[in-house]
Each structure stands twice: as C-alpha cells, then as structure tokens.
Symmetry: C3
Subunit: 177 residues, 3 copies
C-alpha cells in the first residue's frame, strides 16, 4: 500500500511540473517564435540592448559580408550600419521620418532538448522615398541555431542570406528538410 | 497513509485537466494566433459579423484617426470605410473585382492568465489597378490587448499604427520588449 | 484505501503521457505550421522529394487550372511548370540566378483529432528582372485539408486560389470562420 501510494505520488508530482514546463515541441516553438519577433522589433526600432540580448553571450551574427561574435561585436557592427537599418536617421526636410521593417515567415524548426535549428524567410519593406510609399526592397532567408539558457531561448548563431547581392545569395539546394 | 493517498489524488486530479486545459504559453499563443488570422480574413472578405465577434462586447478599435468602442460602433466605422477595406465594391467594367489583403507577421505576445498584450507587424497588398497586378501599398504595426472570455481569446483593444500617414506613424521607441 | 490509491495511480498514469503526447491544439498547430513552412521551402528550392512527401499518398493538389491526385501526378505537374516555380532555371548571361519565394501568413486552423482544415494567405515575390530587384508578383489563399498519419501531419488536399488570374480568384464570401 505504501509502495502504491508512493509510486502514485511520484507519478503525480512528476506530472505536475509538466503543466508549467516548457519542454514540448509546441512550448519551445512558441517561445522561439516570440524570440524571432522580438528580434525584428528590436532591429527595426534600433533598440540595440534588446537586439543583442536575443543572442547568447558568445552568439554569432553571420551576414556573409561579416561574422560578428559576441554581443559587443554584434552591437558595434549594427551601430556602424545604422543608416541602413534605421532609415529614421535619414530624415529629409519637409518629410516625416521613413521606416523600414523586416518580416519573418515560413518558420521551420527542429528542436532537440535545449537546442534547436531553424530555417525561415525574411523580407523587408520601407518607405524611404519622397512619397513615403510602401516598397518591398529585399529578401532572403535565415539559418539559425538556438539554445535554451536558463529557460530562455536565444540565438547562438544566425546566418543571413540575401538575394539582393550576388555574394550573399543562397545555394540552390533546399536549406530546409 | 490516508494523507499520502489524498495528497497524491489531489496532485493527480489537479494535473489531469492540464491535458485538455488551455493555459500554457503555447496553448494560449496558438489560440491567439488563430484569432489574429480569423480577424484578417473577416476584414478582407468583409464578413462584419465575424469581424466584430473577434472583439469583446466593449472592445476598442483605435486607428488613431478614430477610436470606436463596442461591437456596434466598430461595425458602423467599418461599414463607412467599406470602399477602402473592400476594393471589390469598386469593380470596374471589363475587369474582375480587385481584392486587398492584410497580413500579420512578427507576433510578440506576453500572456498572464486571462490577459495578454501583443505587438506585431501588418502590411497590405492588393490589385486595385487596371493590370490586377499585386502591389504592396501599406504597412504599420498593431498594439493589442486581449482577454480570455469563457475560454475564448478576444481583442479588448487593438490600436493600429500606419506608416503611410504622418499622424498615424509609430513613435520611434521600440513598442515591443 | 487501496481503491483510493489505485484511482490515484490511474489518474497519475493517464496524465503522464500527456507530457509528450502531441494531441493538444497547440501541439498539432505547431506541427502543422512546420509542415506549411517545409512545403514552401521545398517548392521554392525545387526539392521535389520533400515537396511531394508533404502530401498523403493519395493527396490532392488543386490549383483550379488542374487537379493532381497522388504524389506521382503532383510531381509530374510541378516538373512541367519548373520554369515558373524555379526561376533559377531561367538564368541570364551576366546575371546571377534569380529566385522566387512563396510566403504563408494568417494561418487559421480547425483541428479535430487526426483531421484538420486550414485557411491561410500566400504571396510571392522574386527578382527575375535585370536589376535583381525584389518585386511582389502574386497572391491568393490556401484552403487545406490535413490528416495525421503515423503521428505526422500531411496535406490530404490543398486548394490554391490566385488573385492574378480571373478564373482562379476566390469567391467573395469569407472562406474562413
């Protein structure tokens, strides 16, 4: 009897954390989708503190043109390219500040414990023109490696392919599975 | 023994509902993503019954140009702007009806029990031109408050920023976190 | 006492599998979103083995212009339209290969056990022009039927509406709910 009750209790207790536990495919995917979206808000609104915090301490941002390692170096590279990533810094007289927005779609995720690999599409539009007209101006795809650190998913590596520059385009083979 | 078995039973019972319960981050996020998508189908296909049903009874739609409160007022405002939201009403002789489509991406969600706040991007394309050619024509972002009423997530407030009109553009600070 | 402990054990055991089980709305939706994304990578990168494997053995691809049934016929139809779906096959002298990308947004899903129905938007952009400039060039919506076979979600039917050709456009009624 004691054994039965004990085993029962064990099952019950081992089950209870599952309610709040973040370890199913859906739970991990939900957290990673949120990470992906927060990354893009931070990028487009030039919130560099939040942006670098989506990477691990030694995370890698690889845009083929350069590979930055660690939050400090990633921030430095982003600051250098501020005019490109933050069109508001290019305000023209008589016009309100333009904006640019990166979007993510088609998120493929393979998750194994505290590690995940991802493939997804990105595209960018903006209105940095005299009419402030919406215009699509770039696209490519992401190849990501993510890790769960203290219960939070972070990028350990993001590689960005860009179909707008010959040296940065994707190989022709399907990068997904 | 009785105490052990009772506690055990308590754990087991409190655990069981979790299987079907919709209260983890992933479960709530999945329901909210579905809400977001149904909202846009209803908007673009001008299904006003479904559209207003995505709001709480006293929900608020704030597009900065106006703030409508409650389903009746929201419907009235949408009906008034039908030509804009429903290009099919602008059919031209010799051409098939044009369409317009709003899309949502980059969904950031913070969920706390029966309340949630969201940030996301929207963009719009359509073919209301003589060639029926696809054209991107607008974008902005959403700031949402949602509540779970009788197990269903609804918008209690949706505020819409639009980068195409100076008065409706987003502040420069990252609206996400 | 034995009865209480036994019932308790029963609850606990019936609960435990739920941790890894893939049968909640979020778990199924997460798997289906992954399927949707893998389908598009396979299409755009012309990985026909992966593409046809997203359909059931007797799955149907209905693009209104034709209806292909079964993986062999679907593959045959896709191979025939390779120049359209795979702009890289249209490489021009002095230019790097163009690419085209289909994107999915606004995914609405109703899931009932091992069956699901879906509605979603698609749009396409590419750079098959001398400037390799990103250009939006088409959009429409998907109406999907999916089934879970041996724990894996697959398309049993995908119907594709396309707003670029009069015969393929969507009826005006909201196809969602």
């Amino acid at each position: 009897m004691v054994a039965i009750a004990a085993v029962s209790l064990l099952f019950a207790i081992s089950c209870t954390p599952a309610v709040n536990n973040v370890s199913s495919y859906a739970e991990d995917r939900a957290q990673i989708e949120d990470l992906q979206a927060r990354y893009l808000f931070a990028l487009d609104f030039f919130d560099m503190d939040t942006y670098v915090s989506t990477f691990t301490e030694d995370g890698i941002l690889d845009i083929i043109a350069y590979q930055a390692k660690g939050r400090a170096e990633i921030r430095k590279k982003l600051e250098e390219s501020r005019p490109v990533f933050n069109p508001a810094s290019q305000k023209k007289p008589g016009l309100y500040p333009p904006t640019g927005r990166h979007n993510i779609t088609n998120i493929v995720l393979k998750i194994d414990g505290d590690k995940a690999v991802g493939r997804s599409y990105w595209f960018h539009y903006g209105n940095n023109n005299p009419q402030r007209a919406a215009a699509l101006d770039g696209y490519g795809h992401y190849e990501d490696e993510m890790v769960k650190v203290n219960g939070k998913w972070l990028f350990s590596k993001r590689k960005i392919y860009n179909e707008g520059v010959e040296k940065w385009i994707a190989p022709s083979k399907n990068p997904s599975w």
